[in-house]
Assembly symmetry: C2
Homo-oligomer: 525 residues x 2
């Protein structure tokens, strides 16, 4: 990815005319994009990598697989949250890892960790670098040196078991590459978070990612069958069967451990045959509460859609769910999208059952068009976010989840917290929301916030995020449904898992990472 | 439950005539049942409970809620495995907890744990007492005194949220009571392990129980949303949403912790509306491999039955899946049972899809009869096991799980290990097997073993179990799919989770149970 924005250079987008009009009207900005800096002009924090350490690490990964080149350091300087990008735009020297190390396999990862543990070097495991919560910040902790451990060379499909419908990937395989490798065997993974194009299998597992087809294929943590983890003090292989009663499920300690407890090097996941059929249907609901109740009836009845999502009135009105039409003619009500995948008979039965439930709950069928539009544009939003930033407009997202009975309260309180904090700072704020992950007992809420960038944009967003996080905690919802803890949510983790929970995580970390080298900036407060 | 066998006295059964004939023919025993001992005649290990300790515990739970009566001690002397019952039949003094303590609520549980931690008293959390792996043995560890912490007074439905379809139970609520309490709200839990009639909500969670309707409603660990856990050093509440990315999922440390890390006092579970319709259909397959492939196609396609099981040729031949006909006219092939629950439309669509898949895979539909028979008799097997024991015949079960591609190898090797070990000791052995829990990536195998009781029956079964467990480990399957680790599977846990896994569990235990009072006989080697 480029150093100062999302994705690849060719993905950079300009702002459509209707959006520029909106920006002028609401925020008083022109929509003209500021120029970006050349990465060669960026000053970096001075390098701290003694020659013997460079030699020791090179001995493990081989010449050519450790670099201290400024460009590589800069591209490993953190993730892709708006805060990250604002920091990247700062003119003072950029923080960055002192070296980027590219191990070839599990054994090299384990050797790097043992070496860094013995020699006091902090290690930030690095997959696709798509964190939006500060999960790959180059934090040194109490050490002088920090390296990024880039896993891109662990890029193989190690095994595909067509009978059991499982596949084992190296941690560095990206979303598109995983689908490509599986397709050669007639299988698919079906994990499509917005980071899909760049994020990696290891990163999906380490952050408990959830994809847009979670209704059908589950969250990534549901897909995980087996993991191989390197820690500074040994390797562990976990997961011998689809399910087990052999004590606590320690996979669930490493899944979601965000590189702070170990490095996931191989992940075996549940896959499925490439679907025979995909059916798209969009629906309109008069309001969000009606739409949410409709989604609830579908998931609680077990109608089993593959994708099930609902935009609120604000998001629907701005057409944010349909990339091609964003900012176009306003749309009333709330747009819902469903897709169904599988055999033809399976899709026919499921979509008929769901349609009946959605109609009974007050939905109006819109046909496949808006659902296909949504699918077509679903990975484009981060590029739009970057263009808004270039135009002086802050656009950031945050997400949470709770039970169905608390969903309305959660939406109201988070919306109010964001709106009030930003307004009080002196900018109008647009707050939009959708449900994109549903469960029989509850759902996620995903908020998109647009406001004018003020003079101190980092402090501006921190205040809004603090208020939103506090509102989430007050309702008793989770501080993050699929973005992970990283640096940005650490302060709320004690509220989420309690003092005993924090003590447990610290005890586990002390045991397997006694030097504390693993990702010091993330997860644990 | 009675002290020396499964269940209630009125459940005690005699052996049907066809079985007595079979026993005479195969094992040379008459099928006459030996008399059982009166519990008043049983000698117990001397009591070790200093007066100040009795007073300290009574201060917490209140007078009348601590007992040292011999009958109560005996009924808390362990679980209900065949090994347990063989030990109970031994004439030497029975080991038993020194006292049974009945706390009223979470706070009393927490206070008992803190007290016992401060005063060096081992604590065995006790739910239904149905463990078949030695999970509630009165083991003292390095302490003089051990108490059973019986949770039966935590017997309330604390909350039912009809919108989110969740219910919060006290840990001591039994299976039938949970269904009864939920039915008053129009909901059901749908968790039916063979221990259903006696086991408790807390026990289901602490052991990762899986019920016969797991295909439809999931394992108990899938159902768990929120848990409240008392530890000797604090309380922890975990689970704020249906799903979360807030770091490692610590619920999964306590679910399956078998009382060794904490005491689950309140459990919030996913529930569902009482089904409109239940459809039963039985199927016959020419052989186990064909049947297993058929089940696989159903679960991998997502046809979503509620119950899905398959008996092998031996189990089908003995009619073991149909309690009323056990030992009757032999039946050829392999019997499969399906049930579908839900709305009428849902059941119709699902059962049609499944029927098509099962037929295409070589199944012959037998109608609802055998499926209803199976359901009717499904909790009776343990009583039959006890009658066999009374007649001098060992009948024990063990279970495991693996991926679909390894299922056949696993079945062959475990069957051989059991048969060869028992035959070598001088008894014929009948080994039967069924699949009762299916997943897209694999399935469980449940073995029932019948052999003549030899002179040293405990050593006899231990040798067979050792061989079976080693065979399971060799194949790379899990040592237990739903019976938990307890005492009986501890030796295989390091093979299952590795040395790093064991270190992690020990580190967690040191942190939250520093005195090591919690269930010293279980889980950790």
């Amino acid at each position: 990815m480029v150093w100062d924005a999302w994705g690849v250079p060719e993905g950079r987008t300009t702002l459509p005319e209707p959006i520029r009009g909106l920006l002028t009207q609401v925020f008083g900005v022109s929509g003209e994009l500021a120029a970006r800096r050349d990465e060669g002009d960026v000053a970096l924090r001075p390098l701290v990598l003694p020659e013997d350490r460079r030699a020791g690490l090179t001995d493990i990964v081989g010449a050519g697989h450790l670099t201290t080149a400024a460009g590589e350091r800069l591209r490993h300087a953190g993730g892709k949250s708006t805060l990250d990008l604002l920091r990247r735009r700062d003119r003072s020297p950029q923080d960055a890892p002192d070296a980027v190390v590219y191990p070839a396999d599990h054994e090299q990862v384990a050797a790097v960790l043992a070496y860094c543990s013995a020699h006091g070097i902090a290690v930030v495991p690095f997959g696709g670098g798509t964190s939006v919560v500060g999960g790959v910040d180059p934090v040194r902790g109490r050490f002088d040196t920090v390296i990024a451990l880039d896993l891109r060379r662990l890029d193989a499909l190690l095994d595909c078991d067509p009978v059991s419908a499982t596949a084992t990937f190296g941690a560095g395989v990206t979303g598109p590459r995983a689908e490509e490798l599986l397709a050669a065997h007639g299988f698919a993974l079906g994990h499509f978070p917005q980071s899909f194009e760049f994020a990696s299998i290891g990163g999906f597992a380490a952050t408990r990612s959830s994809g847009q087809a979670s209704a059908g294929y589950g969250r990534f943590d549901d897909m995980v069958q087996r993991i191989r983890v390197a820690t500074p003090t040994g390797t562990v292989d976990l997961g011998r069967a689809p399910a087990s009663a052999a004590g606590p499920d320690l996979r669930e300690l490493f899944v979601g451990s965000e590189g702070a407890l170990g490095v996931l090097t191989e992940v075996t996941v549940r896959v499925h045959p490439v679907p025979e059929t995909t059916a798209h249907t969009a629906w309109s609901f008069p309001d969000f509460a009606t739409g949410a109740a409709a989604l609830r009836s579908v998931v609680q009845t077990g109608a089993a859609p593959t994708v099930l999502r609902l935009s609120d009135e604000a998001e629907t009105g701005l057409n944010l769910a349909r990339a091609g039409d964003i900012g176009g003619a306003p749309v009333a009500g709330c747009l819902a999208v469903t897709t169904f995948e599988g055999t033809a008979a399976h899709v026919a039965a499921r979509s008929a059952e769901a349609a009946e439930l959605l109609r009974a709950a007050g939905g109006t069928e819109l046909g496949p068009g808006p659902a296909r539009d949504w699918e077509h544009g679903r990975f484009a939003a981060p590029y739009l976010r970057d263009a808004l930033l270039d135009a002086g407009v802050l656009c950031e997202t945050l997400e949470t989840a709770t039970t169905w009975s608390r969903l309305s309260e959660l939406k109201t309180k988070v919306t109010a917290a964001l709106t009030e904090t930003l307004t009080a700072q002196g900018t109008p704020a647009l707050v939009m929301c959708h449900i994109s992950h549903t469960y029989p007992t509850g759902a996620s809420l995903y908020f998109t916030v647009v406001a004018k960038l003020l003079d101190e944009p980092i402090a501006q967003w921190r205040a809004a995020k603090q208020a939103a996080g506090d509102a989430i905690a007050t309702v008793g919802a989770t501080i993050t449904h699929h973005h992970a803890v990283g640096a940005d949510h650490r302060a709320w983790l004690p509220g989420e898992i309690g003092e005993v929970g924090i003590r447990i995580l610290r005890a586990v970390k002390r045991e397997i990472d006694p030097a504390g080298i693993l990702n010091p900036g993330t997860l644990l407060p």
